[in-house]
């Protein structure tokens, strides 16, 4: 049997055809013998047979592997067709490469941000991040105090586990060996709830939560490998955590990063915060919003029910506390997903990334439309071939399938190019968006699978229209002349080009809006020379209980003074000053009372104690009055400077400076000597101020925690020199965090930068693709209408008329596309509104500029075909017939 089958398989089409021929010959002979003429007999024999091709096709299709073989044939045929038209192939493959490349580029980052649940996590869908939202606030509150964690742990029955964690850099080691470690402080319940198993040793036990007994730590896998050589003897050794040795009891499994995507080098019990932050933050006291809370829902608890329960527990926590009853006491719980980017508290980066990913899909759509158009035009050019195949008995499905195969081939070629491109772009995008997530190559299975799916989808999308048109069209009239009609008849093509123009306009408008936002953000007067300042932060508070220990404080301040002297001598440093309270953040609050006036309601100003030269270093301009003099610092004068919003709030702007106000609980007068501009506070786009500045020396009870350094050039390259100066001043310091101020603001600028750059990049690509679409269609039309143009010219039509004729067609579809794009932009703009700054999503200027530039590009794209039209030689054109 199998022998027979093998033999059958070897039997060729020709052999079968020979058998049929022999049959016809025999039948003809028989009929001749029965008295027919040879001619009649041949005809009758053939008629008796019916369709000659059918049995042959049947024979062919019935063989094993026939379907595969016919696809292989289509592929071969498609490859030949692609080779025959290299220009067409190049443009189509390039279109796909751009479209698919854009998507592959975005996928790595979006995948890490959004699609992947964190590694080693069990029951991820039952794990929730717990947020609270106050009525009327802009977004949910993601950070909470330890007390809230306890309240939820003890009072919410719908959770079977509640945990809290806080990611923060930690100084380890001293002097030249000091380094910063990315640590996460956790309650032991976090690790047990996630279901993670250690790679080595053990994780934390419940009684280690407060860090009250032995000091323990769990190493991250990568840190274990990098710093301990992946040696199991790491267990039992110690690691310095802000001056205290911690015993390593275990190693976390490879790739485990907790709930977030950033690399974690060290896991520590939450109680460590009492030592490295402030005593008592892990305790019963309210205040300090530094923890993220995570909880596991009971399998039988419904989410809605839980929200009520958590809200209740939270409100109960704040009941009876005058300051919070009307704020936190009215908040509602929000249960977010484990992947933060999927939930309400998604970071601006994540939101913009999603937008950009959506935009990359649009680019792919435009690319697919481009290829569809090219295929359609190719189809028209090849309609004689198609008509011939149909008339020779090929089924319409078979002919339509040819397009699907060719579209897929082009897409696969495009995907191959896209992967090559994405090797750089995807890595860059990932590094930009999720810098700390473990890197992944574009050749990783997930990336390849995504690219393959996108490529096949794009290939099908691009070829479905040509296939459909082929299957429906009547080709018979074409067999004669092989000519197709003019632009009016190319409805599909015009629609596709119009669609491309519309999508390109959307992307351009998006780019325009983001660029305007970015420009607006840059134009914000921060009243700080962000580009020229760096800060040095040595957190002595981490190494001891600074507040409780005046001696430690004095020694820390002395160290800062010594460092200040050294740093001022570094060449390239123009000024430097110590300060308490970070320049862009808040700090302690400081009440202010004017004589005879009550304290106004509302938030209390922040207090910043600054050393000599602070305003000059930071570049904060004086509005009126004076800055602190050296004498103020030396003599610990009771003077203060306020910013404009504080001045306004207390009426200091109306009455001028005030010789006597009371700060905090002081009974002694403080003189307001000057008013400075409002500076940025946390968020660049948020409210500015209000701040009260006092000379650092006048209030002896706080420790310096920052050194601001003004440089004459770019501050980043000066970091090593400044670090040297710091170590020279005091060789036994914990890790000094030295960073340009701009780095602090960079994360805030990133969403706009990302939006502006990616929308622009994709918008320009879309513009090019649309231009290629217009150009391709017009070139085709001009070629097809050569004869008509020739006749017109022969009849005396001027060149201008011919150009007008070509342009009119192109402008029609471009304007229709622009109009559609504008409508969509106006309708969809509000979804983008929250990502913008200082510009309406319907900004008329942006929309008009984009529309006009699109039209201009479309006209430019028509110029070459139009010129070709004017060069048509009437005689040559007429001779074509």
């Amino acid at each position: 049997m199998s022998l027979w089958t093998r033999w059958i398989r070897r039997r060729s089409d020709d052999d079968f055809a020979a058998e049929l021929e022999s049959h016809l010959a025999l039948e003809t002979e028989r009929l001749v013998r029965s008295g027919m003429s040879a001619e009649e007999a041949r005809f009758a024999a053939r008629r008796a047979f019916g369709n000659m091709t059918a049995p042959r096709e049947h024979f062919h299709d019935a063989r094993p592997g026939a379907a595969l073989e016919s696809v292989a044939q289509d592929v071969r045929y498609g490859l030949r067709a692609m080779r025959r038209a290299p220009g067409f192939t190049a443009v189509a493959v390039a279109s796909f490469a751009i479209g698919i490349g854009a998507n592959t580029t975005m996928f790595g980052a979006v995948d890490a941000l959004l699609f992947r649940t964190p590694a080693h996590v069990r029951d991820a869908d039952r794990i929730h991040r717990v947020y609270f939202e106050m009525p009327g606030s802009r977004g949910p509150l993601t950070n909470h105090g330890y007390r809230t964690y306890e309240a939820l742990r003890d009072n919410v029955r719908g959770f079977d586990a509640v945990g809290a964690f806080s990611a923060r850099p930690i100084s380890s080691g001293r002097g030249a060996d000091a380094r910063s470690i990315d640590a996460v402080l956790v309650t032991p319940s976090v690790l047990t709830m996630l279901g993670v198993r250690p790679a080595l040793g053990r994780l934390f036990t419940a009684d280690e939560e407060r860090d009250e007994g032995d000091h323990v730590a769990v190493l991250g896998y990568d840190a274990w490998r990098d710093r301990f050589g992946g040696d199991s003897t790491a267990l039992g050794r110690t690691i310095d955590v802000a001056g205290t040795p911690h015993v390593i009891v275990g190693v976390a499994p490879r790739g485990f990063t907790g709930l977030d995507v950033n690399r974690v080098d060290l896991w520590l019990p939450i109680g460590v915060a009492n030592r490295i932050m402030r005593p008592g933050v892990v305790g019963r006291r309210a205040g300090g919003y530094w923890l993220e809370i995570v909880a596991r829902r009971r399998a039988d608890a419904s989410e809605a029910q839980l929200v009520t329960e958590v809200t209740q527990a939270y409100r109960d926590e704040w009941r009876g506390e005058r300051r919070y009853e009307t704020t936190f006491g009215k908040a509602n719980a929000v249960l977010g997903p484990i992947v933060a980017a999927r939930g309400r508290a998604a970071s601006p980066d994540a939101k913009v990334s999603l937008w950009v990913a959506a935009v990359s899909m649009l680019v792919l759509l435009i690319a697919a439309a481009n290829v569809a158009n090219l295929l359609l035009l190719r189809g028209l050019a090849r309609s004689r071939e198609v008509a011939l195949r149909l008339s020779l008995g090929a089924s319409r499905w078979r002919v339509a399938r040819q397009w699907l195969v060719e579209g897929s081939l082009l897409a696969i070629a495009g995907a191959a190019c896209a992967i090559v491109i994405a090797r750089w772009t995807a890595t860059a995008m990932r590094t930009f968006l999720v810098p700390d997530a473990p890197a992944e190559s574009v050749l990783a299975p997930r990336m390849l699978a995504f690219t393959a799916v996108v490529a096949l989808g794009a290939g099908l999308l691009a070829s479905i229209v040509p296939a459909f048109v082929t299957a429906r069209r009547n080709f018979a009239p074409l067999l004669g002349t092989g000519r197709a009609g003019g632009l009016q008849r190319l409805a599909w093509q015009r629609a596709l080009v119009g669609g491309q123009v519309a999508l390109a306009l959307l992307l351009l408008v998006g780019a325009g809006l983001f660029i305007t936002s970015l420009r607006n953000v840059h134009a914000i007067d921060l009243a700080v020379a962000v580009e020229d300042v760096l800060y040095v932060n040595i957190d002595f508070g981490r190494t001891g209980k600074m507040r409780a220990d005046p001696d430690a404080r004095a020694s820390a301040n002395a160290t800062y003074t010594a460092i200040l002297d050294r740093v001022r001598q570094v060449s390239g440093v123009s000024n430097a000053a110590v300060t308490f309270g970070s320049p862009l953040g808040g700090g302690s609050a400081m009440g202010l009372r004017r004589r005879g006036g009550p304290e106004p309601a509302g938030a209390v100003p922040f207090w910043r104690a600054v050393g000599a030269g602070y305003f000059e270093t930071m570049g904060t301009p004086l509005v009126h009055g004076r800055l602190f003099t050296p004498a103020d610092h030396v003599f610990r004068a009771h003077v203060a400077i306020v910013d404009e919003s504080t001045a306004k709030k207390y009426g200091l702007d109306r009455d001028g400076l005030d010789p006597c106000v009371y700060l905090g609980s002081e009974q002694e007068c403080t003189e307001i000597v000057g008013v400075v501009k409002n500076t940025v506070l946390w968020e660049m786009t948020g409210d500015k101020g209000s701040i009260i500045y006092t000379p650092f020396e006048s209030w002896g009870e706080e420790a310096v925690n920052m050194l601001a350094v003004r440089t004459t050039g770019d501050p980043a390259p000066m970091i090593p020199a400044i670090r040297q100066a710091v170590l020279a001043a005091s060789p036994d310091l914990p890790w000094a965090d030295i960073r340009p101020l701009s780095e602090w603001l960079a994360p805030q600028l990133r969403p706009w930068r990302l939006g502006a750059s990616m929308f622009t990049a994709f918008g320009v690509l879309a513009l090019c693709l649309a231009a290629v679409g217009v150009y391709g269609l017009l070139s085709y039309v001009v070629t097809q209408r050569t004869q008509e143009i020739g006749i017109r010219k022969a009849l005396g039509a001027p060149d201008a008329g011919v150009v007008r004729m070509v342009l009119r067609g192109a402008l029609g579809m471009t304007l229709a596309g622009v109009a559609a794009g504008v409508v969509i932009a106006l309708a969809g703009g509000r979804f983008l509104a929250s990502q913008l700054y200082g510009v309406s999503p319907r900004d008329p200027f942006v929309i008009v500029v984009c529309a006009v530039s699109l039209v201009v590009v479309a006209i430019v794209a028509c110029l070459a075909p139009a010129r070709r039209a004017t060069r048509v030689d009437p005689m040559v054109a007429l001779k074509i017939e």
Binding site: W4, I8, E19, E29, F49, G50, H58, G393
Partner: protein
Amino acid sequence: MPTRDTRERAAILQGTLDLLILRTLALGTHHGHGIALAIQHSSQGALLVDHGSLYPALQRLEAAGWVRAEWGVSDNNRRARFYELTAAGRKQLAREAGEWRRMAEAVALVLGPELSGG
């Protein structure tokens, strides 16, 4: 599309045509043309074999291993492909013929004697 029509007809005739071919070949080797004529002959012209479906049927039988074929020379010196029943084909013929007879008898029983005036 002629292709589809032919296939449908072939499907209807398949069982019968296969049986007739096998039966014809039981009497000796034949080429396709000869098989068609022989069927026509033995049915006294009642059965007209569609030449278009004959060859696909032969193809099927060959694939099933019930017939084997070889190129040879016909009586009037033409090259033709000659089909021969295999042992498996003979068994198949017995099986199918039996089934067909049972079927024909059953249908005849249902139809009963010829009704007049119908």
